[in-house]
C-alpha cells in the first residue's frame, strides 16, 4: 500500500527533488557566493578594511577605492566584502548554538512530563519578549563583542527550537517502535538519541535556515542601533549605521552593504522555503 510507505523511504525518494527544487538551487547559489566572498575576501582586490586614512575621507569611487571611502577614509568595498565574514559567522554560530541547546532542552522536555511543565513556562516567558528587545537588553548588560552578540541572539531563538523539537518528541514517543525499544531494555538516553532525535532532523534543517537569516538581520539591526558589534569590526549593520548620516551626500555608503545583506537573507530564506516544501510541508504549521 502506497500510503504505508515509511517517512524515511519517502524522504529518500525525494532527495533528487530536494536538490533540483528551484528555490533551493537559487538560494543555495546565493549563499554559496556570499560564503565564497567571505572566505576569499583577501583575494578579491581588497585592502585592510580597518585602515584609517584621514586624507581620503568621503572620497567618491576611484581606481583605488571602487565604492569610495567612508567618514574615516576606509575603503567601502573592502569593508563590505569583509563584512560578509562577520555576518555569516554570526548567522552560523547563532543557528548552531540555538539548535544545539534547543534540541537538548526539547528532547528532555518532550520526553519527561514533569520537566515539561516547568521548562515550557520559562520558554513561554522568553517568547513573550520581542527578540530585538531581549537582544538589546542582553548586549547592553555586557561589553559588545562577537561572543556577546552571538549569545544575545541565540537566547531568544532557543524557545522556537525547543517547541519544535518537543512537538516532534511528543508524537514520536507514542510510536510503538519506541515502546518496542523500551521493552528490549534500551536505556532512556539511547532511546532519545537513537529512536527519537532522527525524526527532528528534517524540521530542524528548515528552522536552522530561518534562525540563521534572522540572526544576520538582527545583528545588522543591533549594529545599526549601535548596540551590536564594536565599530572597528567591519559589519554590514555598522556600515549602514555609519553611512545613514551621509545618505543624502553619499548614498553609495549604504548601497553595497544593504545589497549584500538583502541577497544573503533572501538566499537563506529561499533555501529554507525550498527545504520545507520538499522535506515536509506540515512543518510550517508546527512553527
Amino acid at each position: 500500500m502506497n500510503s504505508l510507505v515509511s517517512p524515511s523511504a519517502a524522504a529518500k525518494r525525494r532527495l533528487p527533488a530536494f536538490l533540483t527544487h528551484p528555490s533551493v538551487l537559487v538560494g543555495g547559489l546565493l549563499i554559496l557566493s556570499v560564503a565564497l566572498m567571505a572566505l576569499a575576501a583577501p583575494l578579491l582586490g581588497t585592502i585592510d578594511p580597518s585602515r584609517i586614512e584621514p586624507a581620503m575621507r568621503l572620497k567618491p569611487p576611484s581606481e583605488l577605492a571602487w565604492f569610495g571611502t567612508d567618514l574615516f577614509g576606509r575603503d567601502v568595498y573592502s569593508r563590505a566584502v569583509y563584512g560578509a565574514r562577520s555576518s555569516i559567522l554570526i548567522g552560523l554560530f547563532v543557528a548552531a548554538a540555538a539548535l544545539l541547546v534547543g534540541v537538548a532542552i526539547g528532547l528532555v522536555t518532550g520526553y519527561f512530563r514533569w520537566v515539561d511543565a516547568i521548562v515550557m513556562r520559562i520558554m513561554d516567558g522568553l517568547m513573550a519578549i520581542p527578540t530585538f528587545l531581549l537582544a538589546i537588553a542582553l548586549v547592553s548588560l555586557t561589553r559588545a563583542s562577537v561572543a556577546t552578540v552571538v549569545v544575545a541572539l541565540t537566547i531568544p531563538e532557543i524557545p522556537r527550537v525547543v517547541r519544535l523539537v518537543r512537538s516532534v518528541v511528543l508524537t514520536v514517543r507514542e510510536e510503538s517502535f519506541v515502546e518496542a525499544a523500551i521493552s528490549v531494555g534500551t536505556s532512556t538516553p539511547k532511546i532519545l538519541i537513537r529512536h527519537i532525535l532522527p525524526s527532528t532532523y528534517a524540521p530542524l534543517m528548515v528552522l536552522g535556515t530561518y534562525i540563521c537569516a534572522s540572526a544576520i538581520l538582527i545583528e545588522a539591526g543591533l549594529s545599526f542601533l549601535g548596540t551590536g558589534l564594536p565599530p572597528e569590526i567591519p559589519s554590514w549593520g555598522n556600515m549602514i549605521s555609519e553611512g545613514r548620516t551621509f545618505f543624502q551626500v553619499a548614498p553609495r555608503l549604504v548601497f553595497l552593504p544593504s545589497l549584500f545583506l538583502a541577497l544573503t537573507v533572501l538566499g537563506i530564506n529561499l533555501l529554507g522555503d525550498g527545504l520545507r516544501d520538499t522535506l515536509d510541508p506540515r512543518i510550517a504549521k508546527r512553527m
Binding site: S6, A180, A181, S183, G185, R194
Partner: protein, 533 residues
C-alpha cells in the same frame, strides 16, 4: 427473485491504470459487476485488491493521482463516467449514498451531528428549516439513534463508534438513494457493534428495496449479509455469483484459499495438555488514571481493576475483549511499559538471574509502526541483546538465524522495514522478541492488522516457536476466531474487569457471563458454523 430486478448500477469493463511504477499495470483491471435493486453485493478481497478504488470510481471520487477510468459505469442505464461534476454532485446523495470505514474521520469534529445530516438536505433540496429538522429527526429515528432530538446537537466525539456510523448511515440514506456503497463500514467497530450495524444495513435495505454494494475483507461479514459475492484479487474479479454458491462451492483456488484462511471457531487446542511450570503470576493488577487538575474537574478512570492470572510454560492464555475493555492496559502493565496503580507481576524464579526485560518480550499490534523506519531490521533485532552485553558480531549472527527461523532470508537484515510487507514485518517483530530468548511472550493484537491469509501464516509461526522454545504466551485479541486457533485458556475482559475465565472449549460451549454470550453471538458468519460443545 433478486436477479429479476433491473440493475441499479452496472460496471462494464472498468479499467483504472495505476499511476507511476506500481507492481502492476492496473489498479482495477477490466472488471464488470452489477447491483440490482433490492440486493446486497459484497466485494471481498485482501488489501490491494482494488475494491476501494472500484467504489471510489463509481462515486466519481477517484483520487487525482489516477488517470480517467476506461469502460462504462451505468447508473440506471445512464453512463456516469461522462457526467459533469455538477451532475455527479447531484447524483451523490440523491442517487448514491456512501458510508466509510472510519466514522470518526468521516464526520467533521466541529459541527453537531444533526447539522451534518442536515447539510445533505440543504445541498440537494429547498426545504424550510423546520421541515429539514423533522426529516433529520426521522432519519435518526430510522437508524435507531437514541433520543434524536438531543443527539441532533451532540458532537461526534460525544458519540460511540457505532452511533457515529449510524449518523453516517442516516446522512447517506436521508435522500432515499437507489444505491448504497459501504466501504468497510464495520471494520473499525467492535464485534458486538458490528453485528448491530450489519443487521441495520440489512433491515434498511429490505425496507427500501435499494441496492447495496458492500466492500469488505471479512468473509464472516460476507456470510452475514451478502446476496451475491464478487471476489477480487490484484485488480481482477476472480469469481462472482450467488453468495451460497461462491461461499460453499467456490470455483477458484483463490476463493477457496480465502475462505479456508478464515479461522474456524473449533478450539484447536482442545487436546493440548499443559504440563509446564508456572512462568508468570499476576495478582490484583489495577490501573487508575486521573485527569483534570488545577482549573478543571478531577476525573478518575478505572482502566483496569484487580486482574489476576497465571500462565504456564507452553501455554497460551488469550485475553479477549473489545476496545476500552482494558486488555491493552493489562498487557502494558504486565510488560512494565506503564506502571500499575496496584497489584504485582511475578516471574517464576529464573535459573540464571536474567533481567525482567530479557525474560518477558512483546510483539506489537501494528507492524508498520513497531519497527523504527530509519533503522535496518538487523539493527532492530540486535538492539536488545546488545543492551544486555552481547557482542555485535555474535548478535548479528544470531539475528540471521532468527530471520531464517521466522521464514525470511538471513541476508535481509540489512534492509529497512518499508521494504517488507505487513506479514513479513510482523515476523521481524517476532524475531526481535525471540532474540532476547524470553520465557514469556506478550502478543498484543499481533495478527489483527494482517490479511487473513497472512494471519494464518503468522499464527502458525507463533504456534511453532512456542513449541520450540517452550514459551508462555499471553495472546491479546478482539477476534474470537483467532483465539480459538492458538489459545489454551481465555480470560474475557469487559470495562476493565475480568468477567470470565476458562478453557477455550468451555468458554465457547457454555459462556457464563452475559457479555461473553453477546460476544460469541456477534461473531460474523457464525450461524453457518457449529460451535462445538
Amino acid at each position: 427473485m433478486l436477479m429479476n430486478n433491473p440493475p441499479v448500477i452496472e460496471v462494464e469493463n472498468l479499467a483504472i491504470a495505476l499511476p507511476g511504477d506500481g507492481d502492476r499495470g492496473f489498479a482495477v483491471d477490466h472488471i464488470s459487476l452489477s447491483v440490482a435493486a433490492g440486493e446486497i453485493v459484497c466485494v471481498v478481497g485482501e488489501s490491494g485488491s482494488g475494491k476501494s478504488v472500484t467504489a471510489q470510481s463509481i462515486m466519481g471520487l477517484l483520487p487525482k493521482v489516477f488517470p480517467k477510468p476506461e469502460g462504462r459505469i451505468l447508473f440506471e442505464g445512464r453512463d456516469i463516467t461522462k457526467a459533469t461534476p455538477a451532475e455527479m454532485r447531484d447524483l451523490r446523495g440523491r442517487g448514491i449514498g456512501m458510508i466509510f470505514q472510519e466514522p470518526m474521520t468521516a464526520l467533521n469534529p466541529v459541527h453537531a451531528v444533526g447539522k451534518q445530516i442536515d447539510e445533505v438536505l440543504r445541498t440537494h433540496l429547498k426545504l424550510s428549516r423546520s421541515d429539514r429538522f423533522a426529516r433529520v429527526i426521522d432519519a435518526m429515528k430510522e437508524v435507531r439513534l437514541p433520543d434524536p432530538e438531543r443527539m441532533y446537537h451532540a458532537f461526534p466525539h460525544q458519540l460511540s463508534g457505532g452511533q457515529r456510523q449510524r449518523v453516517l448511515i442516516a446522512a447517506a440514506l436521508i435522500l432515499g438513494p437507489k444505491l448504497l456503497i459501504a466501504d468497510e463500514p464495520t471494520t473499525a467497530l467492535d464485534v458486538t457493534t458490528q453485528a448491530q450495524i450489519l443487521k441495520q444495513i440489512r433491515d434498511l435495505q429490505r425496507e427500501r428495496g435499494m441496492g447495496v454494494l458492500f466492500i469488505t475483507h471479512d468473509i464472516g461479514v460476507v456470510r452475514e449479509i451478502a446476496d451475491r459475492v464478487v471476489v477480487m484479487k490484484g485488480g481482477k474479479v476472480m469469481e462472482q455469483g450467488l453468495a451460497a454458491k461462491v461461499l460453499d462451492a467456490p470455483e477458484t483456488d483463490y476463493t477457496r484459499m480465502l475462505i479456508a484462511a478464515v479461522p474456524t471457531l473449533e478450539p484447536k487446542r482442545k487436546n493440548h495438555v499443559v504440563t509446564g511450570d508456572v512462568a508468570i503470576t499476576v495478582e490484583g493488577l489495577a490501573k487508575t488514571y486521573h485527569s483534570g487538575g488545577l482549573f478543571r474537574d478531577k476525573r478518575t478512570v478505572h482502566a483496569l481493576q484487580g486482574a489476576s492470572l497465571t500462565v504456564r510454560r507452553g501455554e497460551t492464555l488469550g485475553i479477549i475483549g473489545e476496545s476500552g475493555s482494558g486488555k491493552s492496559t493489562l498487557a502494558r502493565c504486565i510488560t512494565e511499559l506503564i506502571e500499575p496503580s496496584s497489584g504485582k507481576v511475578t516471574l517464576a524464579a529464573g535459573k540464571d538471574g536474567r533481567a525482567f526485560r530479557q525474560r518477558l518480550q512483546m510483539v506489537f499490534q501494528d507492524p508498520y509502526r513497531s519497527l523504527n523506519p530509519r533503522r535496518t531490521v538487523g539493527q532492530s533485532i540486535v538492539e536488545g541483546p546488545m543492551n544486555f552485553g552481547q557482542g555485535k558480531a555474535e548478535a548479528t549472527e544470531r539475528a540471521k538465524e532468527l530471520m531464517q527461523l521466522v521464514g525470511l532470508e538471513p541476508h535481509a537484515i540489512d534492509r529497512f522495514p518499508h521494504q517488507f510487507s505487513g506479514g513479513q514485518r510482523q515476523r521481524i517483530s517476532i524475531a526481535r522478541a525471540l532474540a532476547m530468548e524470553p520465557d514469556i511472550l506478550v502478543a498484543d493484537e499481533a495478527v489483527s492488522a494482517l490479511d487473513v491469509s497472512v494471519q494464518a501464516q503468522v499464527l502458525r509461526l507463533i504456534d511453532d516457536i512456542q513449541k520450540r522454545f517452550d514459551l508462555a504466551i499471553l495472546f491479546i485479541t478482539h477476534d474470537l476466531r483467532v483465539a480459538a486457533q492458538i489459545c489454551d485458556r481465555l480470560i474475557v475482559m469487559h470495562r476493565g474487569e475480568v468477567v470470565e475465565e476458562g478453557t477455550v472449549a468451555s468458554v465457547f460451549a457454555a459462556p457464563a457471563h452475559p457479555y461473553t454470550r453477546e460476544l460469541l453471538a456477534s461473531i460474523p458468519g457464525r450461524a453457518d458454523e457449529m460451535v462445538p460443545a
